[in-house]
């Protein structure tokens, strides 16, 4: 096993700066908060800018399919920034998970429209799935699909749904599904319950190949979600540090109290380590193979809890104000907690790791 490169390149740094400026202008937290109380919880204009104008939907897609061929380690930088902004766009679901599925199923045509940002795609599995593929809840009779999938990330706004069934993986036009928005814990990542009753599906892969496509997509999603979690955690840490430097009680900044300092130092340690773990997972996700699977489970076993810790610390150290709706901390808390469940809890990923690294249960 050679060492993965865990540093950011100059291109990464530039990409990050551009994204952060755009998100700051177009999707500052008051905008995000306001949107959670509207009917349109995802931001279509922001998606358009991100996916099409900035050409980031196809960042990890090879040039032959119309992508930028930059690789998933650069996609990870995008996710860090989207996490940092709790941006309400289906980037993880379309540009990572569905894209990984399409890459694995080598569907050139669909890949091209998704990579261009022209269309959004979503893998029709519950967002909580992982690390193993979920049981099939949609039945395929030939190419006619019937059944229900709950809590699909990106399902509400996707144009194309990639639906796993026992009969294979199908591409289904969203128009053929009934989509019920979920009142989700994290309103910045809308979920939808999808129902199919005799929908037409185009077969993308069948049998073992289909199962492998789904697993690859979930593994890639788990690996990349870690970078989003790092972004969430870093925002929570930065925002809390800034607050405790300014907030005075007892005639001094509360950040000068040792208990506060130590707690934030501990969060910093966790975030620093989560970053190394997430970078490793992102690089491995691009390379594929066995280590990609190990690294993805490691990343979800580690980074999910770190984002939750950072967000919970953010709420606590903001005191009363962190408990209010008007402060953005709760957006991050909700994103962190639901992401810790998304694509498999740390607990389930630890169990998966145990099998992979030969540490058998009792």
């Amino acid at each position: 096993m050679t060492s993965t490169d865990l540093l950011y390149s100059d291109v990464d740094v530039e990409l990050r700066a551009g994204l952060r400026a755009m998100l700051g202008a177009r999707s500052a937290w008051p905008d995000v908060l306001r949107r959670t109380e509207t009917a349109e919880t995802a931001d279509p204009a922001l998606w358009h800018t991100l996916a099409t104008e900035m050409e980031l939907a196809g960042l990890a897609v090879p040039e032959e399919f119309g992508g930028a061929a930059a690789g998933f380690h650069q996609t990870a930088v995008v996710l860090e920034e989207l996490g940092r902004a709790v941006a309400p766009v289906p980037y993880l679901s379309s540009a990572v998970i569905a894209t990984a599925a399409l890459l694995a199923s080598r569907d050139a045509e669909l890949l091209a429209v998704v990579a261009s940002g022209e269309k959004q795609a979503a893998l029709a599995v519950p967002f909580s799935s992982g690390p193993a593929a979920p049981p099939h809840t949609v039945h395929a009779d030939g190419s006619v699909l019937t059944g229900t999938v709950r809590a699909v990330a990106g399902g509400l706004t996707a144009d194309v749904l990639l639906v796993p069934t026992a009969g294979g993986l199908f591409a289904v036009s969203a128009a053929e599904a009934v989509r019920e928005p979920v009142v989700s814990l994290d309103q910045t990542r809308p979920l939808a319950d999808l129902s199919f009753s005799g929908a037409y599906g185009r077969l993308l892969a069948r049998g073992d190949a289909a199962a492998e496509v789904v697993v690859t997509a979930l593994v890639t999603g788990a690996a990349l979600l870690a970078s989003e979690q790092v972004g969430v955690a870093q925002w929570c840490l930065d925002t809390t540090v800034e607050y405790v430097r300014e907030r005075h009680q007892f005639g001094r900044p509360i950040g000068s109290f040792q208990a506060v300092k130590h707690r934030l130092a501990d969060v910093w340690v966790e975030v620093a380590q989560a970053r190394a773990v997430a970078r490793h997972a992102a690089v491995c996700a691009g390379a594929g193979g066995w280590e990609a699977v190990v690294a993805a489970s490691l990343a979800q076993a580690y980074c999910g809890p770190v984002a939750v810790l950072a967000a919970e610390t953010c709420v606590q150290l903001h005191g009363g104000v962190g408990f209010t709706w008007e402060h953005p901390a709760h957006l991050y808390l909700k994103r962190a907690k639901s992401s810790a469940i998304g694509l498999g809890t740390a607990d389930r990923h630890r169990a998966a790791l145990a099998a992979m690294v030969d540490l058998p249960p009792a």
């Binding site: 959670t36 109380e37 519950p126 967002f127 909580s128 709950r150 809590a151 979920v182 009142v183 989700s184 814990l185 994290d186 309103q187 979920l191 005075h248 009680q249 007892f250 005639g251 001094r252 900044p253 509360i254 109290f257 208990a259 506060v260 939750v308 919970e312 709420v315 606590q316 005191g319 009363g320 104000v321 962190g322 408990f323 209010t324 709706w325 008007e326 901390a329 709760h330 808390l333 909700k334 907690k337 639901s338 810790a340 469940i341 998304g342 809890t345 740390a346 607990d347 389930r348 630890r350 169990a351 249960p361």
Partner: protein, 394 residues
Amino acid sequence: MTESIPDRLSALVSAFLADHDPRGDRLEFLRARFDAGLSWLHFPEGHGGLGVSRVFQPAVDAAFAAAGAPDNRPRKISVGLGMAAPTLLHHGNEAQRQRFLRPLWTGEEVWCQLFSEPGAGSDLAGLACRAVRDGDGWVVDGQKVWTSQAFGSRWGILLARTDPTVPKHRGLTFFACDMHAPGVEVRPLRQLTGETEFNEVFLTGVRLGDDLRLGEVGDGWAVARTTLMNERVSIGGGAIPREGGLIGVLAKTWRTRPDLRTPGAHDALLRAWVRAEAIRLTGQRVRQQLAAGEPGPEGSAVKLSYAAVAQEITGLELEILGEQGLRHDDWTLRMPGAVEFLDRSPTHRYLRAKGNSIEGGTSEILRNIVAERVLGLPAEPRRDLDLAWKDLAK
């Protein structure tokens, strides 16, 4: 041979019940009970009590309840009972006690608390709300926050700064604030659950007569300490059975949903179960100490631990639930009823539990108090105690 206190009390209650119909007019009954000294037994005669120990209270309350007597809806008027009443008793003058205590106890007048401010949470003594002398009264300007039931309250216990030129603890004065006075504006404060349990109270040129001042001018901190000490006493809570509360909800989910079980979650559940049980037994021991007349500091342990385990349990619950843990029930802005903690969705519990380590004193402040008052550890070097309030960094 003298009659024992319990016997005497029992006789008094019986006599009272013989004279007053528990099914009659509710308020009339409660007022009469107050006048008979059978309200809060440890209060002095003439103020709803008989000057006997509060250990006899439960038996008297039980006797009234057994007779089908109305209660004073103690949960609804808890700020009045737990905080305003002892403060009025210890620091009010006779006229104030006569004016306020009876309607407080009967629930005719609800009280709220006007202490915390956006800039003064943990450091309550640093508050900025000003009260300025104006003729024979006061004019109050400032903003208070985290006030429960501000909408339905008739009175508020108010801590305000009357002298900014002296060190912070010395420039405060305590008032009963007329919540119906012009210039009192209450706004609901929305919390991360989407609900509004609390309010902000804006005080703009609010005029209060000097007869609403409790204690001396500049003595507000000493008065507030009485208030806060009584708040702390009341937090202990009653006996709960094994698996009472949050752990019971999670245990039930575990038992009824074998499909959700994982080995890792099992050990986490057991750790939480053990901790919840340890807290429960500690609470039991605290109540036994109180009953034995030897109150200990372990109530603080219970509050600290409870906050931590509530957060642990509710977080674990969401992870165990998986897909269901991603779903909330309702984000609509609304004012919650008394106890919705167990009726709402698991996500609501998770979010609401974040307040447990903030409200009623943050866990950080509570650890300071334990370290200094229980363990006798030295205070940190402080600069804020001797400087004039106006010169403090804010």
